[in-house]
């Protein structure tokens, strides 16, 4: 019955659902997990690669985490080819803004433009939606560090910690439990600062903890992971995409929270 309403995204089902959009989200829930954790000094992004082979040239192969801009780094989950198109689009959008205003694009505006495009593909043209969700981690001078999650429908929201891809609900509940947070109201108009009690160290630790619980492999290794952080260096945003050696170092540092293989 539902089949009659599937093939064109412009059609609502009798129950008021857009099946194509939902199927896109279903595709993403089978993709490699991406986790993002916001701290007061920066944001951590970690992702599980699903394509692993000894033949892969890992240092040149970016599968999950991409730099959008000097001040935004994103993790993708879902169809890799769809993700690439959107990444290219966002990079061009961000550069056009820089060319026009001689200023880095505010994070939310970049996310919004990306989402407006994704929404267009759910309403016009009879084309299928993009089967990608993003976790965009960025910094701008007005709102500081921000983490945005966006889905194929074109929705986006800002998070302190979020997860997309496989086992995301599992990860989300662990994040909810373990995230140290204290709301602080800052005076002044247009300031939506949220005081996080997490340090970068806490964020890295929490990320490793959650990764170990959501990834199916017996032991976390740099072969299976992509890692990135965005922090401030000399007042400017600094994106660091970790090499496999650096990932191994992080995993070693926090091995106390990583669930050992035996007790799984």
């Amino acid at each position: 019955m539902a089949r009659r309403y599937d093939s064109r995204t412009t059609i609502f089902s009798p129950e008021g659902r857009l099946y194509q959009v939902e199927y896109a989200m279903e595709a993403i829930s089978h993709a490699g997990t991406v986790i993002g954790v916001l701290s007061k000094d920066g944001i951590v992004l970690a992702a599980e690669r699903q394509a692993t082979s000894n033949l892969l040239e890992q240092s040149l192969d970016n599968e999950k985490i991409y730099e959008m801009n000097d001040n935004v780094v994103a993790g993708v989950a879902g169809h890799a080819a769809d993700a690439n198109t959107l990444i290219n689009q966002s990079r061009a959008i961000a550069q056009r803004y820089l060319l026009k205003y001689d200023s880095p694009m505010p994070v939310e505006q970049l996310v919004r433009r990306l989402c407006d495009m994704k929404q267009g593909y759910t309403q016009y043209g009879g084309l299928r939606p993009f089967g990608v969700s993003f976790l965009c981690a960025g910094w701008d001078s007005t709102f500081g560090f921000q983490l945005y999650q966006s889905d194929p429908a074109g929705n986006y929201s800002s998070w302190k910690a979020a997860c997309i891809g496989e086992n995301y609900s599992n990860a989300q509940s662990i994040l909810k439990q373990e995230y140290k947070d204290e709301e602080k109201e800052e005076a002044g108009p247009n300031v939506r600062t949220v005081g996080s009690q997490m340090t970068m160290d806490d964020a890295l630790k929490l990320t490793c903890q959650v990764l170990s619980k959501t990834i199916d492999t017996a032991k976390l290794s740099s072969k299976k992971l992509e890692f990135a952080t965005i922090t401030l260096k000399a007042g400017k945003p600094f994106i660091h995409v970790y090499t496999s050696t650096e990932i191994d170092e992080v995993l070693k540092k926090y091995e106390s929270v990583i669930k050992p293989a035996d007790s799984q």
Binding site: K100, Y101, D102, S103, Q109, G120, G126
Partner: protein, 247 residues
């Protein structure tokens, strides 16, 4: 900020065809013009001045013109050259600010961004052979950093601690350079006003298209303030001692 624009699938949205503007027009000369604008950095921010005259050739036609305007809360703009082209720029900047307001996301256009927008417009018009016949002085505070820049009808841009357009470049700039350069962070407001008035006085004596009525403006951390018009004291008694060219 652009109005919300996104790339729709090609089945829906064709790329925009170039619109027909009617007969092609090329600005050849300015008509109603303003003379020098001078500006420099001082301790608290930027100070700028321009007289209240818009000339119609050699006729001192409009004697209460505003050649200084604020753009948002942190940027000050001074203009010399064709006044109708300035008014066009005013409308463009107004829609830019409206877009910012509509976006409603807590982000504000900084001075650097306003400067870039104006520079792009000026250069693009020059490339079409239809310039906006102006020289702009743009100053402001971006996160506490003082910024002062210049754009002209060619699209030439530069930034400096002291800026002057038109005759000001010949008569006022040497004074500004001697008295301001190197001391931008120490100059008090009183001394800044005094330097400004001295330069504007020289310009009134020697620029035949200037007026003794001027406005002064400053940008500080408190925002943009444009003063009411005031007159400078001048002494023309030396004229009686001139011999030659008449009695």
């Amino acid at each position: 900020m652009d109005p919300i624009e996104f790339r729709l699938p090609h089945t829906i949205q064709r790329p925009k065809a170039t619109p027909n503007h009617g007969p092609r027009t090329h600005t050849t000369r300015p008509i109603v013009t303003g003379t020098s604008v001078i500006a420099f950095k001082y301790k608290d921010g930027i100070m700028m001045a321009a007289d209240c005259l818009a000339s119609y050739g050699s006729l001192a036609r409009f004697r209460n013109e505003k050649r200084l305007m604020s753009v948002g809360e942190t940027t000050l703009l001074g203009v010399s050259g064709d006044m109708s082209d300035f008014q066009h720029m005013q409308h463009t900047l107004e829609s830019l600010l409206t877009q910012e307001y509509d976006m409603d996301d807590g982000q504000k256009l900084g001075t650097k961004s306003v400067y870039k927008c104006i520079s792009n417009i000026m250069y693009n018009r020059r490339t079409k052979g239809d310039p906006l016949w102006n020289a702009y002085v743009i100053g402001g505070l971006d996160n506490g950093q003082k910024m002062l820049g210049f754009v002209d009808l060619y699209g030439t841009t530069y930034q400096s601690a002291t800026i002057a357009t038109g005759f000001g470049g010949h008569l006022a700039q040497p004074i500004l350079r001697r008295r301001v350069e190197g001391r931008e962070d120490e100059l008090s407001e009183e001394e800044a006003v005094q330097i400004l008035d001295e330069c504007m006085r020289v310009l009134f004596y020697r620029d035949a298209r200037s007026l003794n009525k001027l406005r002064r403006a400053k940008v500080t951390a408190q925002g943009v303030e444009i003063s009411e018009p005031y007159m400078l004291e001048t002494n023309w008694s030396f004229a009686e001692s001139i011999t030659g060219y008449g009695s």
